[in-house]
């Protein structure tokens, strides 16, 4: 039982992070029908910038509480990545908005490769370690070890998701985003500044990605120019699982995928009697992706996309 609880906790933490990154994929897809493959790299750049600032802060003011240092890192990284995402959209996607859909998809992959290599040049090839400045308090809950950091990750992720939902459903910008998603042309005719809405979508996605990136590096204690790749693929799978283009779907998909991965990797060996082992951990995400595409292409909550198609 305690093992099961622990696996559930592992999965929820992992899933919260997937969900945050998945939001960025799904928001952009909802509006542009573009899979922004550079989003995983934006997450990585966010983590790297934050980590650099954290390193400097921790060196300059060693007495500052760790939480404030990390907050400082996030506060610098968010505007940096917002600017980056704004620039990516403006340079790489906007000129191709009227082009066939495959063209921006390929530029997205290109941007992703450029960012990865840029990060390698700036931060080097080594794994950058996250300084041990956050409290490592642990709790026991139904036999599972839960750290303060894990609780913070899940709570913060849920808060951000709720905030985003409020933004999309209750504000003017949110209404403009939904209108643009339904029909760009009609929204434009109604006086919505579509370019600005699209930029805003990229910027919001980037801000959330930074927080996810810092969460990943704090949780695993490291960051690396390569980290955005797998994270991006998993988050993309999560977004498809929930129904790409659907914000609630991305949250659900992320959490579900995290739990599926944790339980899958934890139990597959025992269930198959050692025939299949935990090396299949990464496969679950992609099994889920294929399964969803075959049996329910619109995802769990994705009716809206189906309607439009």
């Amino acid at each position: 039982m305690d093992i099961f609880t622990q696996q559930l906790v592992n999965g929820l933490v992992l899933g919260s992070i997937y969900a945050l990154v998945a939001l960025g994929y799904t928001m952009v897809y909802g509006i542009l029908e573009l899979i922004n493959f550079a989003h995983g790299e934006v997450t990585m750049i966010g983590a790297m910038v934050a980590l650099s600032v954290i390193g400097v802060l921790a060196g300059v003011a060693p007495d500052l509480p760790g939480v404030l240092v990390v907050l400082g890192g996030i506060l610098v990284a968010i505007p940096a990545c917002m600017l980056l995402a704004f620039g990516i959209e403006k340079i790489a996607y906007r000129p191709l908005r009227k082009a066939p859909r495959l063209a921006p998809l390929i530029t997205a992959i290109g941007v992703s490769i450029i960012l990865q290599n840029l990060a390698m040049l700036i931060w080097g090839r080594q794994y950058v370690s996250f300084p041990e400045i956050l409290p490592t308090t642990k709790f026991e809950f139904l036999g599972a070890h839960i750290s303060l950091l894990q609780i913070a990750i899940v709570v913060l992720a849920l808060t951000i998701m709720a905030g985003l939902w409020l933004l999309v459903e209750k504000t003017r910008l949110g209404r403009a985003m939904r209108a643009t998603a339904q029909s760009r042309e009609v929204a434009e005719l109604m006086g919505v500044n579509v370019d600005r809405v699209i930029s805003a979508t990229f910027i919001i996605g980037a801000a959330i990605a930074v927080i996810a990136g810092v969460m990943v590096s704090a949780y695993y204690g490291l960051a690396h120019y390569y980290m955005g790749f797998m994270l991006g693929l998993k988050a993309f799978s999560a977004a498809v699982l929930g129904g790409i283009g659907n914000i609630a779907g991305a949250m659900l998909g992320g959490l579900l995928l995290g739990v599926i991965e944790a339980l899958g990797a934890g139990y597959i060996g025992d269930i198959t009697g050692g025939f299949l082992g935990s090396h299949y951990q990464d496969v679950f995400a992609f099994f889920v992706l294929i399964g969803v595409l075959v049996f329910r292409p619109s995802g769990l909550l994705g009716e809206r996309v189906a309607n439009r198609a």
Binding site: I3, Q6, Q7, N10, G11, V13, L14, M120, G124, R125, Q126, Y127, S129, E132, T136, K138, H145, S147, V216, Y220, G221, L222, H224, Y226, M227, M230, E261, A262, L263, G264, A265, G266, Y267, G269, D270, G274, G277, S278, H279, Q281, D282
Partner: protein, 380 residues
């Protein structure tokens, strides 16, 4: 075909530029190309660059001293290639080096890349000396071209297994490996030795060489209450694994091979690295015959030594000594001389047995104490 050739020329030129050897050569010198292959992108880049730097230091020294073969002045040129630690990329760059006309290759870094590449070098008839591939399979293929300067996994795994049960008192052991030829090979050899010494293996779990999340497998291991966890893999995985063990409340000790025994592991695992034990083939760098001196020369040029640089350095010297004895850089003649290698390298004496394995197979065990690796003991 035409464009293919052009590609190779372009790639060759790029490699020249990347190697910083794009300058015009003085006339008269005969250029002898040596390949160096290691991952220069991806998670193991720091170790890969370390190997290349080790080889480059040797090449630069030999060039500075001047080398004469067959009465002609010879200038060595090192072509550094990136195999991304990927077996399939390894075969591509191996072919590229063969086409570029290298007379020998120092590499690859990983066993998983050295093994598939070794067939290409064997077919081309050029010697390959790996500084760091330790999988038993590498030299067991019957190729007269495959050599290594480091103790193999059978020697290392045996020492680790005996140490775990004998000295660390492990009774219930969990084993994790990263499914690479190195990780899996070392874990298999460890398992054999640990079982032979009387330990029980209660769990065998797997991950990959790009993973960072081990909470699921560690939780499942925790349910089997082992007192020791052995990890066959490298530091980018070992570091976070040590951290996650602590945060999951696992009290088992972590034991690893040479993939963990480096500075980066301690950086990544932070305070959770404390008490971790890992082995490394050969002697600790400061106990190596030429260690402290090598460290000085290396650090002046490239910074901190990661792990295998001294072995890459020795591999170049073993090769060049064979060239000198053959008085030629022709691969066939160098190959005939390699088995007679008997040099005093930085890492210790370099001699090969009939398979191409090194005969001086010491294994040293280290433990992290106070944030740094401290020598526990050396097993012969």
């Amino acid at each position: 075909m035409q464009s293919n050739k052009k590609n190779y020329v372009v790639a060759g030129l790029l490699a020249l530029l990347a190697a910083g050897c794009g300058k015009q050569q003085e006339s008269g010198d005969q250029i002898v190309k040596i390949g160096s292959v290691a991952p220069l992108t991806g998670p193991q880049t720091h170790i890969g660059k370390d190997n290349e730097n080790g080889a480059r230091l040797a090449v630069d020294e030999i060039n500075a001293k001047g080398l004469q073969l067959g009465g002609k002045k010879v200038k060595l040129e090192l072509l550094g290639e990136d195999d991304q630690a990927e077996p399939k990329t390894a075969t591509i760059v191996a072919q590229k080096l063969v086409d570029a006309g290298v007379v020998a290759v120092i590499g690859h870094l990983n066993s998983g890349t050295s093994i598939p590449a070794s067939k290409i070098y064997h077919d081309a008839g050029i010697p390959q000396i790996s500084p760091s591939a330790t999988a038993v399979a590498y030299t067991a293929q019957g190729y007269n071209t495959a050599y290594r300067v480091m103790a193999n996994d059978a020697q290392q795994g045996k020492a680790l297994g005996q140490y775990a049960v004998g000295k660390m008192g492990a009774k219930k052991i969990a084993i994790v490996d990263d499914r690479t030829a190195y990780g899996q090979g070392l874990a298999d050899e460890f398992e054999k030795a640990a079982k032979a010494a009387g330990g029980a293996v209660v769990a065998r779990e797997f991950t990959n060489d790009k993973a960072t999340d081990f909470s699921a497998i560690l939780t499942s291991i925790k349910g089997k209450t082992p007192d020791l966890i052995f990890f066959g893999g490298m530091d980018p995985q070992g570091g976070p694994m040590a951290k996650q063990m602590k945060s999951l409340g696992l009290t088992a000790k972590l034991l690893g091979g040479d993939g963990l025994q480096n500075v980066n592991f301690v950086k990544l695992a932070g305070t959770d690295a404390e008490g971790v034990v890992a082995s490394s083939p050969g002697l600790p760098i400061d106990s190596m015959p030429g260690g402290p001196d090598f460290r000085k020369r290396f650090e002046a040029k490239y910074g901190v030594i990661q792990v295998y640089a001294p072995y890459a350095y020795d591999a170049v010297y073993a090769l060049v000594e064979a060239m000198k004895r053959a008085d030629s850089a022709e691969p066939a003649r160098v190959l005939a001389e390699l088995p007679k290698t008997d040099i005093q390298g930085v890492s210790g004496p370099v001699k090969f047995d009939a398979k191409g394995d090194t005969t001086g197979g010491a294994v040293t065990l280290y433990q992290v104490k106070g944030g740094a690796w401290q020598v526990l003991e050396t097993v012969k």
